[in-house]
């Protein structure tokens, strides 16, 4: 998928599926029309229906519209986008490391590696900034604000 138009079909399909799922899940809850409170299932069902209608409308408009806006290049493989995926990978790594090694250690590794993703070549600069940042976080949150940070798994 290269253009906004193509992605719009994907987005509308996702929203239609979401609407259907919400309606299906709402069937567990009562809907009593004409008896005062329509029940806890009414509101989400209405939202689900509107989402499906708007999803269909989005697909229809994308189909018939000749607007230039729909031809915007939306390729997900530009060099900038690739850096974003690298960063997302690092975030996953951060999540795992935070769980195992605590926040400060995970943050140090994340900042060091993410500066590499941002094209900072100098290892010394990356190391120095990571250290300063982690020390600042510890000082501000743990020492000054007395807000505890997640410890490593063996200290929990």
């Amino acid at each position: 998928m290269k253009t906004m138009k193509a992605w719009n079909f994907f987005v509308s399909a996702i929203f239609i599926l979401l609407g259907v799922a919400v309606i299906a899940l709402s069937r567990e809850f009562p809907i009593e029309m004409g008896k005062g409170d329509p029940g806890s299932g009414f509101w989400p069902t209405v939202l689900g229906i509107i989402i499906i209608v708007l999803g269909l409308l989005l697909a229809m408009i994308s189909c018939i519209s000749k607007s230039d806006k729909l031809l915007i290049d939306l390729r997900m493989s530009s060099s900038g986008a690739k850096r974003v995926y690298w960063m997302l990978g690092l975030t996953v790594l951060f999540g795992v490391m935070m769980y195992v090694g605590g926040l400060l250690a995970a943050l140090f590794v994340f900042v060091y590696l993410s500066m590499g993703v941002m094209d900072v070549k100098s290892k010394r600069e990356r190391l120095l900034f990571s250290l300063v940042l982690v020390a600042s976080v510890y000082l501000i949150f743990q020492v000054i604000l007395k807000s505890p940070l997640p410890p490593p798994i063996f200290m929990r």
């Binding site: 906004m4 979401l18 974003v84 975030t91 926040l103 943050l107 604000l145 940070l149």
Partner: protein
Amino acid sequence: METVLASLGTIFQLTNIIGLIFGTGVGILIGAMPGLSVNMGIALLFPLTFSFSGISGILMLIGIYIGAVYGGSISAILLNTPGTPASAATTLDGWPLAVKLKQPGRALGISTTASVFGGIFSAITLMLISPILARFALQFSKPEFFALAIFGISIISSLSSGSMIKGILGGLLGLLIATIGIDAMSGQIRFTFNTIYLLGGVSFVPVLIGLFAFSQALVTIEDTFGKPQDTIHLNIERVLPTWKDFKKIFGTLIRSSIIGTFIGTVPGTGGDISSFIAYDQAKKWSKYKEEFGNGAIEGIAAPEAGNNSVTGGAFIPMLTLGIPGDGATAILLGALMVQGITPGPLLFKENIGTVYQIFFGLMIGNILMGLFGFSLQKVFAKVVNIPNKILVPLIFSLTFVGSYSYNNSMTDVFIMIGAGIAGYFLRKFEFSMSAIIIGIILGKMAETNFRGALMMSDGSFSIFVLSPISLALLIASLISLVSPIIGSLLSKRKRKN
């Protein structure tokens, strides 16, 4: 009178004034850096408010809000790149005066004066108008509150710059998120998938940080990667404006402040619209029209007074009716609610002290902003040059630490990351993050009042049109939803002709 004086005294308590000074200073820095938005700044530093007791956290957020709106003018003037969309009009005359005519100090001084003037003007208007509006809103009952919530939600159509349908879909997504957890009316548990974490609903703060800060940082990486970053090296001399300059812009300041305050009160508008309208009006009324576009000081004063006066104006519907005027006030509204303060007419009845503290916070925050602007301009000019390769890892770190410190929960960090990744793709597909947040905030209000009103009428939907206020609000919502479509159809026809 006693409450007023007590509230003023509260503002000057050490922690409160520190919160305000810190917020205003950080806000200016955030606004000055292109790529960081007002919304991002508030979302990023929101968790810090839990470390402050009482009103000081809220004052800090107010400081960030007004500071960031002003800070956008610094990069607009020095780099020709607006720090925030609200400062786009300032580039038209700010940059030519600073760079082409080599008077950066004069340009920054005019923008600071105008911002302070506009901010204080709108804060005074807020103090005068909001109690009257709140008294009127006290007559509201469930149907009116439902209609009000719908009106608040309807503004999302004007918040979505790309597709209106996507704007509404974003809002609906927010409304859906708001249904997760225990239903306030029946006590039933909805959409929690048997997890204890979701019983109290989706945690607002991590979602907010993910949508506004984490996703924005990802977008910044994509947009700026491999591109050279603009930097400035100008000698900034005298910043205080001369009496002659002040006299020349005084009329523009008054006019633009009125425009900005009025536009701020209209939900769905914002600083970007008001600054361009104020600029346009300044040009129409000016005796020196030929100077516009070439460094006219009125051309700097108008957009800056226009966008900063929006801040006080936007507080009017937020404080009195509990509906946000734009993305930033939506976050502030959420912040107040998380802190246990529910904006709306009852706030004026039950917690008038807090209302006055917010009024004075805005007023004093604007004065502090002026003091910062006139004394630390050289520092702010340096901040504009901070490279993204440093800024981006810093933002990510703050999102991780901030979302954890809110509730000391690792799950919140994972929720934030999930919301951030979803937000990144939604941004790419031109969805509005503000629309989602407004949906989350107003979702409960809309549903409980909708069902409550139906209980009052034994299930008859006529209750929503029999009340004149409710009917008027529903019609206004319809107009708000439909007007962008009509507007675009009219402009298409105009272009064809």
